[in-house]
Subunit: 241 residues, 2 copies
């Protein structure tokens, strides 16, 4: 019998050091909204998305990269000096096609830079759920689903997405860590709600973003498979894999 | 309208720094098995339980404290040099009545010593679930349910107990943190299983302890309200509150 590869879930960047990422495919998850925006931009024809740690670096990039659009948020809000926000709905094909998106966000881009020795880093969101699952199944090697969380605090929406992936892959991977089991359980419990978004209503991020008038954005971010693409990090940029 | 006090859940000692424990009642949770053993020992008449960080300190205590029994585990196994293990079933009234239990464990006692400035520290387990809930409701102030986890990795059984408490107190406290919402969701999902123990079968701790022949122990630890007591930490010892 061939042993199934391990699929683990890390619920917060503050727990990342507990996981061995060597020879591992790491999936960065920031459902609200970095990895949703990345899926939308790449699927709609962006040449690449450059994840950037600081707002300053992001702005500086417009001088060196041609056709570069700066975008991002801090604490869920657009940052002065950046051209666009962190909404997947902003990046239509007509707008983003052929361009490069330099993106800086509170949690997702930070986590991506924390992963050091992975075999491959990709990003996941409900918008590219099936594409990510198909990719992981095809690769058939060890997986870590890494939730961006909120300032290191565990969050519901990223865990929910990890649960959706773990549930879809449970026959092909070994779900030995409790976080993976808990994520699957959360995803199953969400099936009792009218929608994924309705299930997320008690979450802190739902409250934060709905106060900024972003319920429509969240509804889009929780709609599976609108952007079937696998964003792969090449050490510098995320490109459609 | 009087604002409800906050009830938060910390899923791992590695996340404890994210929570403000000032003016807070902190509930230390180590279902398998430190806080289950503490509830059993105190309810069965132990004078006190002294939580100890190291095996060496634990052994040294027998020379200074009269009627002191040393007990504990490392990695779920009894440690050479300690007199007893970490099973609530070992501490019957006839055995432990009037004695002092010096207890050292992998996760639970470590976490207890990490909490610095709380208003009150108590311990919780399914064995004293209702007693803990009644106590917290009566006190009516800010609560942090702190899971001992397993070497900083989030675990199912402690989160499940946090969910049981959060669900019982949701009308009286504000559950604003996502970890609290997720714990409640896990507890609700557990209601679809034949028993709490059956729900925990995929967990890593279930596998670890069942390999040591401890399924009976875990069945006992997941049976609510066998030991209605509130263990309160006085800075040195846990005593029946």
């Amino acid at each position: 019998m061939i042993e199934k590869p391990l699929l683990e879930v890390c619920l917060s960047p503050a727990l990342l050091h507990l996981y061995d990422t060597k020879d591992t495919i790491v999936v960065i998850i920031d459902v609200f909204r970095a990895t949703s925006t990345i899926a939308a931009a790449l699927h709609n024809g962006a040449r690449a998305v450059i994840p950037i740690a600081s707002v300053e670096e992001c702005i500086a990039l417009t001088n060196t990269v041609e056709g570069c659009i700066t975008a991002g948020e801090r604490d869920g809000k657009v940052v002065p000096g950046l051209q666009y926000g962190n909404s997947p709905l902003e990046y239509s094909a007509g707008f983003i096609g052929g361009k490069t998106l330099a993106l800086t966000t509170t949690n997702g881009t930070k986590l991506l830079h924390m992963v050091r020795d992975a075999d491959t880093i990709i990003t996941g969101s409900f918008l590219n759920l099936d594409a990510v699952c198909t990719y992981l199944k095809k690769r058939g090697q060890k997986v870590l689903l890494a939730c961006a969380a909120w300032k290191d605090r565990v969050n519901m929406e990223d865990t929910l997405f990890a649960g959706a992936v773990a549930e879809a892959l449970q026959d092909d991977f070994a779900l030995l860590c409790d976080s993976a089991q808990m994520a699957v359980s959360l995803y199953r419990q969400a099936q009792t709600a009218p929608s994924l978004l309705a299930f997320l209503e008690p979450s802190s991020h739902y409250k934060r973003l709905s106060n900024f008038g972003l319920v429509g954005d969240m509804a889009y971010c929780t709609t599976p498979n609108q952007h079937p693409v696998v964003p792969v990090y090449n050490g510098k940029e995320l490109v459609a894999g």
